[in-house]
Symmetry: C4
Subunit: 166 residues, 4 copies
């Protein structure tokens, strides 16, 4: 484990812009598809072995799409939690200093500052990146979650067998 | 407010290439989807508090798609206005020197030059970028509108609490 | 007109990878959508005023999609012409030294070399770019055709009012 | 042939992230489309003339989509082979030192190390790129397979007529 390791007991991931590239394909009937990327689901399987993982989304219109991917295909649980309720939602599940959170929006700034480990993506706005403990080199939907998983595995959970992969 | 602040009374956004990445997914039945990106809708909510916002589009075939996103999901009003009618459409709503306009096409060049604040995207053609007051570092559909909103909030409306976010 | 101007009497554009980003979205029923980008259709309207324009495609499975965009929406004519028949197809329409051709595939190399003006995209393979007279700074589907149109208008047809736009 | 040429008797390609950009478009009914790119199918036709080619995928939910593209449109054969069975699957078809394999995932690391020629994409994670014999300059779905084909044709099969194309 690195010198900056903290005791992480819960890892929470936002979905849009983190597991996806943040884009929504819109048709005449509204939101149709979101785009998920490579390596993330496989890396999350490794992370599941070391800590509880939860997914949150504030996108109510696209929720059935995200739910289908996160719960149906990946076997995790996704909960609809708006940005302004997110800190209290996490605080109910354990002390914030033991939470790692990954989000990409400017609405995530107070959350990234409050948790033990705040992670954001390369393509988040500069002010969001400034608020994070760790900024992935990858953009959302382009292996950013895989990179975050390996960062946590190596630097926070001491799984040095994955050192050098990101 | 910055030294270059002007009195902005109306903010007009083009849609395709600004709120979207400018791509159209075509199938056998024609235009099917457009791709909207992250952070833009949330940043527009902040901008709404300081000035009236309007959306215009010249894309009549894809208009139901844009309408669905802008009016149905985001709660703004989108009007079909061709490029050559756009300046007169805006002039009817107030003096052009008090209008901020964001567009990405080379057909927007005379508009960007005529308004008080002309904004374009990083991926607009060089001649379009030359005509703008402010060029976002972000591409259309990749948080360019969010960046423009924060630029206007901080530099034109003096909302310094958002300084440094873009 | 530039010192390298030739007498162009026909301008031929490939579609996939030139007007599109070259990607095909595949579903269970096969090819579903192609992605067309901004500025290209508007710039082609300007070019139409100075020379005849034709579109060719070798993609027979996706032909109805391309046909819908090129003929139905843009008002040009698209013809199905395989790579190996393309030079003879063009030669039937006029001397090759008076043809400008834009293509992005390595199968276009002999064509780019044979015509008066060969144009390719920034994202074509290096050997394709080596064979072209002009390589756009833009990738296919990201205003590469708009850039090619303005290059032709300014450098080949002396329309200096568009100088500096690309 | 280059000094590092080995006797390649079988060439195996992973699909997602190699022939595609690794993205999955998800709708309410799950995985809907994958995105295949330009030049790859044409370059694979050239490679077919010099060695047997096989395609493998671990994506069972998206398998009908990949099957449609690889078998239906491109005329190759795609087999569902999970990551952990891939080395034994290839070993049954010939000595691993005579196999060239292209994959982009971190689960491909042991495979890339075990085969005669391991190829990965520019956008694979750093640890994957470290495990490969050859890393394409192109990302998956952006002509990475075309580049790999020309690398193999020139450097492994001595087809110097294609030298300089990538």
């Amino acid at each position: 484990m690195s010198a900056t390791a903290v005791d992480i007991q819960l890892i929470v991931f936002d979905v849009d812009g983190v597991l996806t590239d943040g884009r929504f394909a819109y048709g005449r009937e509204g939101k149709q598809t979101k785009s998920f990327g490579p390596d993330d689901a496989d890396a999350l399987r490794l992370l599941t072995a070391v800590a509880p993982i939860a997914f949150v989304s504030a996108d109510h219109r696209g929720f059935p799409i995200s739910k289908r991917r996160i719960d149906g295909d990946m076997g995790h649980e996704l909960t609809l939690v708006s940005s302004d309720r997110r800190l209290s939602w996490m605080a109910e599940r354990g002390p914030l200093e033991h939470v790692a959170y990954m989000g990409d929006s400017f609405t995530d700034i107070p959350i990234l500052r409050a948790v033990g480990i705040g992670i954001t993506t390369a393509d988040a706005l500069p002010g969001v990146r400034d608020a994070a403990t760790y900024v992935t080199q990858r953009r959302g939907g382009d292996r950013a979650v895989a990179e975050a998983c390996f960062y946590l595995l190596v630097e926070q959970f001491g799984r040095t067998e994955w050192a050098g992969i990101v």
